[in-house]
Amino acid sequence: MEFDFREVLENIDLLARGAKLTIALWALAFIFGLVAGLPIGLARASTRWFAHGPATAWIEVFRNTPVLVQLVWFYFAFPVLTGMQMPAFVAAALGLALNTSAYCAEIWRGGIQGIVRGQWEAGRALGMTGPTLLRRIILPQAIRRMVPAFTNRAIELAKVTAIASVITVHELMYEARLLSANTFRPLEVFTVIAFVYFVVIYPATLLSYRLERRLAAKG
């Protein structure tokens, strides 16, 4: 066995292009999932069944099925449901965003329910309506505590983006698989790819450790 990284280096622009798409996929899915998660989390925290029921179903379905199954399903289902052809990238971004929305909803719910009831009552006593109360009193306190959980979600999502290669999104993992097949150099290609992912994801993990420690210290 000997390492020969020449082919990998010669095709580095291919991998760089893949990495760009990975980052785009990750950012789109995370931002969309984060935002969409809030109303779903609120609905789940609601005591009204017509809000609570669908939100719970949404969350449980996404959390109890494999992401790969979800992506493959969306890849075939989106065109049927919308009647439009959809590029693989859009299907993957949307699928991952919906998946992330379910996980983020639970974080939103936990964070909001973690605020003591007195805060709600005080806001109501001041005559605030629900949305104002949420924006001015609850969320500013809750978000600080939710940051480590959201960071963890972002890290999980970064790893999950590799699965989009299965539905032919030309992101980093897809380019790696292609390169490995074309050059017969799987050892070099997959080793390099693993390190690329590690170098991108590990700093985020270290950051989340720091955030958790800081929050624990503040209490």
Binding site: M1, T65, V69, V72, I163, P186, F190, T191
Partner: protein, 222 residues
């Protein structure tokens, strides 16, 4: 939207799906046992090993926690045979990849559980003249294990979901069987919906069962 659902291909090839489910469970079981053992070794090395052992353990744990599982599957299946000279069957490759990957997560659960036991407990045990092994067995582990159950279960669920990645190595688990049937029946929506439902029933059912068990155990302890 005028899509006409037709589940007849699913029923026609139900036998293949059952076989796929059995393979999913087999891979889950293998990886669960492998992962729990590897995790224990990694945790022991990380907590009590000398530096020469602890650092590689930390490197393995952090590496596998911070890279995509799909990359592990491909590395073990396509690259490891070049290093070792032994080619692997898809099941073996998937089981190894999943064992190490979940082992890295299990190791951190073990470590957090053991380190969560207050120092006073250790000191009290030592003061009573207990050796390390007795202290672990009688004082630390009984308390730590109880705290580990929830995160271990959660990781177990993640593991079962990750087995679907073995489809990319053409291992005949549930998703792969659905892909095979789809390629000749052209009914992707029906087949993948069925696969999703099977996974959901399996995992959601298991989590309801565990919640029920936990409630019973909690009642028994009071």
């Amino acid at each position: 939207m005028s899509y006409v659902w037709d589940f007849s291909p699913v029923f026609r090839d139900a036998g293949l799906l059952v076989e796929g489910l059995a393979n999913t469970l087999k891979l889950s079981g293998l990886a669960l046992v492998g992962g729990l053992v590897i995790g224990l070794l990694l945790a022991l090395a990380r907590i009590w090993g000398p530096r020469l052992v602890a650092w590689p353990a930390i490197a393995i744990i952090e590496f596998f926690r911070n890279t995509p599982p799909l990359v592990h599957f491909f590395w073990i299946f396509y690259a490891l045979p070049i290093v070792t000279g032994v080619s692997l069957a898809p099941l073996a490759a998937a089981a190894i990849a999943l064992s190490i990957q979940s082992g890295a997560f299990f190791a951190e659960v073990y470590r957090a559980g053991i380190e969560s036991i207050e120092r006073g407990q250790w000191e009290a045990g030592r003061a009573l003249g207990m050796r390390f092994s007795a202290l672990m067995r009688r004082i630390v582990l009984p308390q730590a294990l109880r705290r580990m159950i929830a995160p271990l279960t959660e990781r177990g669920f993640e593991l079962v979901k990750t087995t679907a990645l073995a489809a990319t190595l053409a291992y005949g688990e549930l998703l792969y069987q659905a892909m095979v049937i789809t390629s000749r029946s052209f009914r992707p929506l029906e087949l993948y919906t069925t696969v999703a439902v099977i996974f959901f029933v399996l995992l959601f059912g298991a989590s309801l069962g565990i919640r029920w068990l936990e409630a019973r155990v909690a009642r028994g302890q009071r």
